[in-house]
Symmetry: C2
Subunit: 536 residues, 2 copies
């Protein structure tokens, strides 16, 4: 395709959404993102999509689907690379606006642009490598008795248009140009995003980058749309639209569950990938505590308070055996939490929810508050919190497992390692589970591993879960309620698989077969031939 | 493991279910399978599982899970091979009883034993090959700036205990020892089967084979249980049990949907793989009709009436352009259907449903009945049926797409190829879609292919969908309502994937890592290292 490379997208923030490539100013209720530090409404105002806007975006996505999924994977790779390029070019504007809208530090947001572009480029590489096609060929056996075997070939095809809901805590990496959008586009699925109301300007800028890349690379009209609206209206209509074939979501458990159940009740049910809540247990083993209690306390509070605690992988639960070494850890961690100056959270609503969630835990008679940080004087202030409870009390009250979305953590003091295992057994599904060990802990840690593995999408030793590498082996997912579908990841190259399904082709003439399955393997991809893996 | 090889299982039919390896006579209501030819109740009587029986089976499955999933894949392969061995040894008893209980011909049932044992052996091979582990390794990059990269490895782990519901139409291949059981056991998931009430004795025999194989190969108690009961009671309790982590089901749309929604409403939602209904459209292209109308009619009616039409892949819809060649096809097909002597269906209930479903179609004013076969004088008689409708009428009435589970097919007469495409576009999700072509049809067939691919799990040229190969490339699944989850197949080696989920391991010492991920690759399996596929 010899489409000329267009100009870089404008970094204007005009208060528009995009129905396909067309900028549209909604006519519904007005909405403005707010500076979470001041509570001040940011210009421009946006307006909700009308029901007709939502329908048009879905129809365009459906109309684009066949052309888009038929593009050569290298073309889609080029599309993703051009999105990365335009985002990188717009770094200053994106960071400036996202900083205003989220209060997240500039350095963190610069890093997030890099993470987002890196993720897009990873999917581009993945598209070219080609294992994602899941190509399998069982050649015909015309002489087999009693019945000849037909030629059967199989590949994965995209599900169809995908609805993506942007997350508040990653205005880029889990929002408009984030992992769900990148993996859906990689798979060949057009994407309709509902922007998160907390960062509408950032969303508009990101959409401009995506649409410019679509124009650069000749992608069909409708391959991407951006909608502005609310969850119960716009969001619900989007998930209910018969053209939408899958949903990606990052947010609260209540909203994720509502989406999942709405999708199951559709006349044509569809998969929902909702990442919802996780307390990310951290087990401090006795040897680790004996050797480095203060260092662990330091690292723990660093991870806990990072980004005002607004990471889905925030260490919200610490489990350890009581005793002098744990006291050393606790004293040091409490001192650091107590000295924490607090932070501005993403929105006043999130700050309010955090106060309520933390209050529900600290208000329980069995919970001891060990330390509270300062509460800064901003409109969305968040205060660090460390509390403690015994292993017996923790196992007796499922409410103590509820996520406090912010810089709060609960220390579970156990009698012994057997009770540590009981606490782990009592846990709901998690995104991550961490174990800190010394050499002397390895035998005990080995016994914990299968318990943790059943309850989490990622198990870490001697690290902190708040760092999520974007690579081939990463799993960011986990059993319910961490997500609605533990069979998938929202981060890393295998995320492309969530938007694919298998199709078999029987006795189809070579010239009509999809390229990944043709005899001469024109894409040069890995395939399983009669069960044996061959490298392209 | 040096467990001695036990005696072959008894082929006694004692009227028991099995809670783990323990034979249990239920104490609930009595139930007997019936000879569908005579309606006569077959001895022995069975009794429903009590709620406590169901709970015990689930608890044993949960208790077995960690030991079972920790077995070396070669051990599980040996387990599957021994199941195949014991089934093969019991062929005569299985076929004799299944023939009594289902009325299916002896030769068909002999073939089904072979298919079932072949399927078990395919999963054994798949387990040893090892791609199913989904092993990926992103090695540490300690010198990366600004942050070192940790070592991250990923594999797939089994979901947990699986509930399987036996199907009426394949008393072996989709029932107690069928694909769902085989793929779940291959994945490392203990299985609790609810026997289909229409073939309780066959179910008991198959369970004996599985339990003997478990004993032969030292598998943990609880790896398999067989329950007898009804859907609303026993089945619902099984799907609601918190230990059950996934469900495999083959049956009606109503029952499949109820299961899916019950699973979504659980406090901990779980995936349901329900294969439900499909009319398996067959497009006869003009060139094919011009060249071989009578041969196509012959083959079509053969496929239609095979097994009394009780295949999920039965050709229930034929789509073609009207004209002289189609008339030739229709005349020949109607003559063959009219001459069909009918068949005994699986149960009186299925025969009744079939009459009702066919009656709902033929009772419509726009439907023309072309031929009816004979109605034999048995208790569960099924009569072949061929009816016709215009393309316009078909597209106007979604009810015409409802599956008639039996030897009934609807011919859709289209004005032209454009209307053929419209009819295809109007179709719901299907297990299969077939196109019959001559050389002259290929350009038009190419245009149909993307339409069919979006609506079916398998697309065939110049064959009949009732043959389902059990291989590596087979897909037996498809978009809703063919199944509740198009991302999966219930036949073929990739069925193992439906019972797996990914877990990432970060910075875990080599000695504690699961074997598939250890540095020296002790299983010798294919792995992706830093994104590059390596062959073990």
């Amino acid at each position: 395709m010899n489409t000329p490379i267009a100009q870089a997208p404008t970094t204007e923030i005009a208060g528009t959404m995009f129905i396909g490539s067309e900028p549209v100013t909604g006519t519904g209720p007005g909405i403005q993102s707010r500076d979470p530090r001041t509570g001040e409404a940011l210009t421009p105002a946006y307006h909700f999509a009308t029901p007709d806007d939502v329908t048009r975006a879905c129809r365009l996505a459906e109309d684009a689907f066949d052309a888009f999924r038929s593009t050569h994977p290298w073309q889609r790779a080029r599309f993703l690379e051009r999105i990365a390029h335009h985002l990188a070019e717009a770094t200053d504007a994106l960071v400036e606006r996202a900083h205003l809208e989220t209060g997240l530090p500039v350095a963190r947001l610069q890093g997030e642009v890099g993470r987002t572009t890196g993720q897009l480029r990873l999917f581009a590489t993945t598209l070219c490598e080609g294992s994602w096609h899941g190509a399998r060929i069982d050649p015909a056996q015309p002489d087999r008795t009693p019945m000849p075997r037909p030629d059967i070939r199989r590949r994965l095809v995209p599900l169809g248009p995908v609805a993506v809901f942007g997350a508040s805590n990653f205005p880029l990496a889990f929002s408009v140009p984030g992992g769900d959008t990148a993996s859906a586009l990689a798979a060949g699925c057009p994407v309709v995003v509902k922007a998160h109301e907390a960062h509408l300007g950032t969303s508009e800028l990101a959409a401009r980058a995506i649409l410019a890349a679509a124009a650069d690379t000749g992608m069909p009209e409708g391959v991407f749309s951006l909608l502005v609206g609310d969850g119960p209206g716009t969001g619900a209509q989007l998930v209910g639209d018969p053209r939408i074939q899958a949903v990606g979501f990052t947010g609260s458990r209540t909203a994720g569950l509502a989406l999942m159940r709405a999708a199951a009740e559709r006349p044509l049910p569809i998969p929902v990938y909702a990442e919802m809540s996780s307390v990310n247990p951290v087990v401090l083993m006795p040897g680790a505590l004996a050797g480095r209690a203060e260092q662990l306390a330091d690292e723990f509070v660093g991870s806990l308070t990072l980004g005002a605690g607004q990471f889905c992988t925030n260490p919200g639960l610490v489990i350890a055996v009581e005793g002098g070494d744990l006291d050393t850890f606790t004293t040091a961690a409490a001192a650091r939490v107590g000295a924490d100056s607090g932070a501005t959270m993403l929105t006043p609503g999130i700050a309010r929810s955090y106060r309520e969630e933390a209050g529900a835990v600290t208000g329980r008679p069995e919970v001891e508050v060990l330390a509270r940080g300062d509460l800064p004087a901003t409109a969305s202030a968040g205060q660090a919190l460390l509390a403690a409870v015994t292993g017996d009390d923790f196992c007796a009250a499922a409410e103590l497992q509820r996520e406090m979305f912010g810089a709060a953590s609960l220390l579970v003091r156990c009698r012994d390692l057997a009770q540590v295992a009981d606490v782990v057994r009592s846990l709901e599904g998690q995104l991550t589970a961490t174990v800190h060990t010394a050499e002397s802990d390895l035998a005990d840690a080995r016994a914990l591993l299968p318990l943790l593995e059943r309850r989490a999408g990622r198990v870490l030793f001697n690290g902190w879960s708040t760092g999520v590498e974007v690579g081939h082996a990463m799993v960011h997912g986990g059993p319910y309620p961490a997500t609605t579908d533990a069979r998938s990841t929202s981060v890393g190259s295998s995320a492309v698989e969530r938007f694919l399904r298998p199709v078999a082709y029987q006795n189809i003439p070579d010239s009509l077969l999809p390229q990944p399955l043709q005899d001469d393997n024109p894409y040069g991809i890995p395939r399983r031939v009669d069960g044996t893996l061959t490298l392209g």
